[in-house]
Amino acid sequence: MAQEILSTDPYLARFNAAKAGLPGAGQSWLSELREQAAARFRDLGFPTQRHESWKYTPLKAMKGVSFAPAGGTGQSASLDRVPSLLAPLLPESQPPLRATLVGGAFRPDLSSLDGLPAGAKVEALGALLERDPGVLESWLGRIAAEGGDRGDQPLLALNTALFDDGLVIRLGRNVVLDRPLELTLLGPLGDEATQLHPRILIVLEEGAQATLLEHHFGYGDAPVFHNGVSEIALGANARLTHVKLQSAPASTFHFATTHVTQDRDSVYDSFTLNHGAALSRLETRVKLLGEGADCHLNGAYLLRDRQHGDITTAIDHRVPHCTSKEVVKGALDDRARGVFQGLIRVAPDAQKSDGRMLNKTLLLSDKAEIDTKPELEIFADDVQCAHGATAGEIDHHALFYLRSRGLPEARARSLMVEAFLTETVEELRAEALRPLLLERIRDWLGTRHDDTPGKGEQAA
């Protein structure tokens, strides 16, 4: 089987040329980290379908595109083409807390962080690496490395080698953010094919609590290779609600790897809505390292045209008495292809682990495709683990019922899909954030192509 493999050469060349100038270059620990990552990336190469965890997500669409590094272009990018810039996502009476990156570069002028409580720090990664790199040494690259390398994360290595900016969010002991922090990640706004490797580090110390609203979007038709990595460490009893909206433009290849470590009794409650980009893969790996840790990875994918969207998760129960729950649902239209891969791993001795996973997909068109792989890997006996998966179309009986009550077919369909997806939104425990997600889902459904018979084919 001949595989189309993307060449690593331009990226390695870029690393060698840029490494002396990357932020924190003077730090030996960081240089070493980057060198190791570059070597790892060279050894692994870009993922191919021969990597078990990349079986369903080929990268061939990226072949032949030469992506120029975004570098600091985001600092000076014109915002002319961005309409109604950055309206707050949530209707709040208080001014929102917001940190903004454009093309991967932090933009203080577009951020508003004045309302942060004492003990909460939100800073640009690049600047912090220049100013006080020592505080990052025990976190950067370490959270992701926890649990070893299974040889299937070359993109993580590539980010580590090349990141030049991003965000660092730190909350001290018992510091509580009283309103959501919006992370606005606007794509590069140029006309060139661009690559960016933003890095986000989030550390919540014992008892800290925060809600993050991460929004990826952009404008323009230029191809973008977005390769983001987030590292999140939750201390004992810390609590993070993390909502992600991936709404990148149709010319984007969006890859995001999130690594989370959870100390005892901490809670990570996340919801991912994946509906942007031509090709996307949102990969989340959670390591439950302290007893009583609780992890919820929920999400939805809404894909159409020729979009390819991949949600891959791995939850590693490393110690006893942890719980995890995952509900991911999706609707696929046109020729879209959805991928869900979920792994619950229970280590030897991690007794009394409770892990549940559910994936459900609605296929809305004849050409849509879903590939799903819910996986259990259990090395302890006193556990309760389960997963379920379904795929199929809208229930004809229910559809008929609605139509017989006078609803037009298209409306009946979108109501059914909405109801189907609402279930997963309701898994998010932060109720205040649900309307935002439901609104996005309704928007998507509202712009759905009408596929009632006879109207599906474009006459012209």
């Binding site: 004849d366 819910p374 259990l376 389960a386 997963h387 379904t390």
Partner: protein, 483 residues
């Protein structure tokens, strides 16, 4: 049916856990150890095969040499030294026996001891048996009675001689020689196996069964089974396997191909009890088997039932390709691993035709330090309108040092196709065990009882004659796993 009580008594009286661990002393004819083109020519010549068979074997051998070992299964073993294996071992016979009376009495005794009497007067009523000993078929019972209704049941070697048109048409049509490394090796070196053809409209009047016995040391067993159910026919087929207790690992790489034409049904059951190795993982069979059924005709049905308790390593995915519209595939499986056994087993249901449906019920029990993986693929092709799949996959853990994994692959390209998959993993319930014990049932028996209950849905699929045997096997396999 106090199967579990009997089981425990049986085990205690035997004093050792694997009751088929003895071997038969026979004068054997073997080809030299190792694998090369000459060995393949030797096997082919020994069987007096037509040229096309030899060519096919050599083509497979050439391809096999280029194939890497499959690495994706969750099993671990040292690299296999393919040159350290005998590829042909057969009891020495002056001439091929024409009837059972001429078969070496020692062989008949062997099968009797295994509970498979081959002599006419003692044969299992209602079950025809093909007995395969190391590399060759030594006897087939009820041949005459079957031929009266047109059913062909013989060794594959005989079929190549007597029914070349059928063999040539179907052999390798479901599992091509290059399918995977183990199947490819089998194609190059298979020595015998069973052949079944059921003519149109015939319901096979009895259960057909092949009993495989590995006896010789350092010998691989590579059998090939081909079953063709012509239009509107039905057959139920059962395969059993045992091997002597030996310290070294022995290789078993079989290929089974099933073809069901329009309205035909094949029910294929396996009770696999190859020697599993001892408590420390020494010895045992490497069971690397490719089994696949093609529902070629409309309304055809193929049903796999397997009870896998033996082998050091099991690597096996009995599958159905549902090509004919309205065809049905089923997979019912019990896999039990104990001590240091490893099993990576499951199924593939490939839906190609309209209205096809499949059902997967898998029950895995891991005990001791064993590791088990369910690996299954359900694929709905673009044209599989209204296709259905239901999968239920449950794992039971006994003891804190075992492992159970579930790796399903679900792929759908058809919106009208519906897939439902459920899986659970939990340990054997303390409450259930205590309840049984409070009623006077001992710990071992309670485990056997609860596990048999857990497996019941699958056990019920087995032909009656073998269900009781399988139920006992469940108890024996878990001996020593608790307390």
């Amino acid at each position: 049916m106090a199967a579990s009580v009997e089981t425990v008594e049986q085990v205690q009286s035997l004093g050792e856990r694997y009751k088929y661990g003895w071997s038969t002393d026979l004068e054997m004819e073997t080809a030299p150890k190792g694998l090369n083109e000459d060995i393949i020519r030797f096997i082919s010549a020994k069987k007096d095969e037509p040229e096309w068979m030899l060519e096919w074997r050599l083509k497979a051998y050439a391809h096999w040499q280029t194939m890497p070992e499959p690495k994706w299964a969750k099993v671990e073993h040292p690299p296999i030294d393919y040159q350290d294996v005998y590829y042909y071992a057969a009891p020495k016979l002056a001439e091929k026996p024409k009837s059972l009376d001429e078969v070496d009495p020692k062989l008949l005794e062997t099968y009797e001891k295994l509970g498979i009497p081959l002599k006419e007067q003692e044969m299992l009523a209602g079950v025809a048996v093909d007995a395969v000993f190391d590399s060759v078929s030594v006897a087939t019972t009820f041949k005459k009675k079957l031929s009266e209704v047109g059913v062909i049941f013989c060794s594959i070697s005989e079929a190549i001689q007597d029914h070349p048109e059928l063999v040539r048409k179907y052999l390798g049509s479901v599992v091509p020689y290059a399918d995977n490394k183990h199947a490819c090796l089998n194609t190059a070196v298979f020595t015998d196996g069973s052949f079944v053809y059921i003519p149109p409209g015939v319901r096979c009047p009895m259960e057909l069964s092949t009993y495989f016995r590995i006896n010789a040391e350092n010998t691989g067993q590579f059998e090939r089974t081909l079953i063709i159910a012509d239009k509107g026919s039905y057959v139920s087929y059962l395969e059993g396997c045992t091997a002597p207790q030996r310290d070294e690992n022995q290789l078993h790489a079989a290929v089974v191909e099933l073809i069901a034409l329009d309205d035909a049904e094949i029910k294929y059951s396996t009770v696999q009890n190859w020697y599993p190795g001892d408590e420390d993982g020494k010895g045992g069979i490497y069971n690397f088997v490719t089994k696949r059924g093609l529902c070629k005709g409309t309304n055809s049905k193929i049903s796999w039932t397997q009870v896998e308790t033996g082998s050091a390593i099991t690597w096996k995915y009995p599958s159905c390709v549902l090509q004919g519209d309205n065809s049905v595939g089923e997979f019912y499986s019990i896999a039990i691993t104990n001590n240091l056994q490893q099993a990576d087993t499951g199924t593939k249901m490939i839906h190609l035709g309209k209205n096809t449906s499949s059902r997967i019920i898998s029950k895995g029990i891991s005990a001791g330090r064993s590791a088990q993986t369910y690996r299954g693929l359900v694929r709905m092709g673009g044209k599989a309108e209204q296709a259905r799949n239901y999968t239920q996959c449950d794992s039971l853990l006994i003891g804190e040092t075992c492992a159970a994994h579930t790796v399903p692959y679900i792929e759908s390209k058809n919106r009208s196709a519906r897939i439902e998959h459920e899986a659970t993993t939990s340990r054997i319930s303390e409450d259930q065990l205590f309840y049984c014990r409070q009623r006077g049932i001992g710990q071992e028996e309670a485990v056997a009882l609860v596990v048999n209950g857990f497996c019941r849905e699958v056990l019920q699929q087995l032909p009656m004659e073998f269900a009781v045997e399988a139920q006992k096997l469940v108890g024996i396999s878990l001996e020593g796993s608790v307390g």
